[in-house]
Symmetry: D3
Subunit: 137 residues, 6 copies
């Protein structure tokens, strides 16, 4: 009963800023630098979702990668694509939209929709040089 | 006197939206789709600038790629990075911030700073799947 | 009236083989090597289509990249994706399905559908290390 | 005695289809979609093999990456490249050639050839957006 | 108290060779092949450093990725970039500069500078096809 | 008689430094910066060679990409891979080994070996962010 990990990649483009309401403007700029620009900035995000399970003896699938992609689009990227992550998304309200927090929130959105195998990792690239990963720990 | 093309890549992350002031909200959404989201969206832009010229017989340089990078940073990416392309950048005011228009505007900003060789192309990737190029034609 | 080039990337996965009917089996294997395997092989193809034109003064578009993508999907990638390029595609019948020939055939399929700007290039990556480009010359 | 993981990447291009013999044609197409095309489709596969071990005090090698590459070519990619994964490969016979199953089968082919360190992971990219990994669990 | 992994990528370009002083020239060339070329060769190295920790409730950061990048530059890439890894770097003296050994040495340089979270992985790409990873095991 | 461009990519890893013998040490470091390090530095070079011609009516080839790869390996990458570009390569002697000069020299080495079609471009990536191209102009 071998365990195999299957990963699917989807993408979305969004605006955000980093800002702590309780802090002064000066402290926000000092801490977050250009990420605190009031007029927002944005990214092309790359989302990698990994599930683990045993391949079905007939189909050879741990999960149908097309169906995993459909879940990721319906639950996540169609809600986030071309949106403002601070303002437009129900499940991100009142949370700082860093890549770290986004991986946890995306995990919470996806976990009940993965059937017949187990969610193993949510990885989010903010740029090609910075990414965060949450494994449910 | 061989002609060689030298290209340097820099990057910036920015927010924007596409919107024609003279149009109704309905027409804007119908034409631009999600790109018209009032709360903005954003991209990781990849900027490729190409110059052409003859390599110096001693140094072998058409241009010092480090200096070309410094010009690109000083004139373009430090002004655009983590900015809102509709609101924050002097040389983009009153122009629709599509990749097409950005390549022309970036060319105009750079062309007087390239010395000893000739600006040949400004190429801008909005995503890995969509890019625009202006060659001064 | 600046001229800008806009490129859109789409992808498809297909099977093919290279084989000249007039040649013996021996000559086919000698010339095409493993590409002549009778049971087919396949590739993840990356298709880049470039158009040229002047950005519209209001919208900033040479072409709506989403519409260009829709044309590429409808006319090309939905017909080629997960297909056998020797057997399954009407517009490739009786032509050797090399990347070279595919770029010409794809150009012919697309050229009448590009309105308001001009088709400039069809580039097809067979692998990340081999690609062909046709510019209508 | 530090443990270091060393990974080597090789590539192969192959055709396959997904099909369950016990199912009707209708059920196959309903379940596998375009992947069930009888005339096959194909991919550029990217194979990443990781071994773990302690670097040799003199050579600094966990494994000679060139030798790991030679094993991967001899045992795997030379047997799979430009082949039909359903028909042409001894060690894939009677198994659904999904990426999931391929990672397990490739592990089984490689594991006895890795000497002086331990096989840790076989990862196979079917496209840049879908990949499977088997870690011997 | 969710645990999230944050990764930052930096790059450096360096020369090196692989050579065991205690071995004859013949044995060195036989074992290391072209990597033993006395006049050196070189690589564009890609360095990925991963830390793990709990996102701060206010800032959403496990670590400020900019600060992680500054540590990586100050402690590692500014010391290695455009250097000879056998001759020019204090902390690599008397160790074979393989990617395996470099990951361990880079870990040792970085570990005391990571505050408020934990160093989890140092991954070094020597080429796009060969990389090593050390996780402190 | 359509003209199609075919490109093949090969890679090599090499050491070099930039230095003008007629200049003082101070002037060399002031002009070339870290590229003048006496102990050398190095790169993973990516070489793209493009030929142009008409696809053969039977084979569909402008050139057999495998044969183009063989020429590139025999004439260029086997001579440059794991070498010192200032010291070890006959056809680079007495020329500053910048990417600009290398594209011209590689063109001169290749041009007589391309038969039945025409050499159109030699493009050399020194890093993913800096590259040079020579088109025989």
């Amino acid at each position: 009963m071998a365990i195999v990990y299957v990963t699917r990649v989807e993408r979305f483009n969004a605006a955000h800023k980093l800002w702590v309401e309780e802090w002064s403007e000066e402290k926000n700029f000092s801490f977050f630098g250009k990420c605190a620009n009031k007029n927002w900035h944005g990214h092309n995000y790359r989302l990698e979702v990994t599930v683990k399970g045993t391949p079905d003896p007939q189909t050879g699938f741990v999960i149908d990668a097309k169906k995993l992609g459909d879940i990721m689009k319906r639950e996540i990227t169609e809600k986030l694509d071309h949106m403002n992550l601070n303002l437009d998304v129900d499940f991100i309200k009142d949370v700082q939209p860093t890549s770290e927090n986004l991986t946890i929130l995306i995990w919470q959105q996806l976990v009940t929709h993965i059937k017949g195998c187990e969610l193993a990792s949510v990885k989010l690239y903010e740029t090609e040089n910075i990414f965060a990963e949450y494994k449910g720990e």
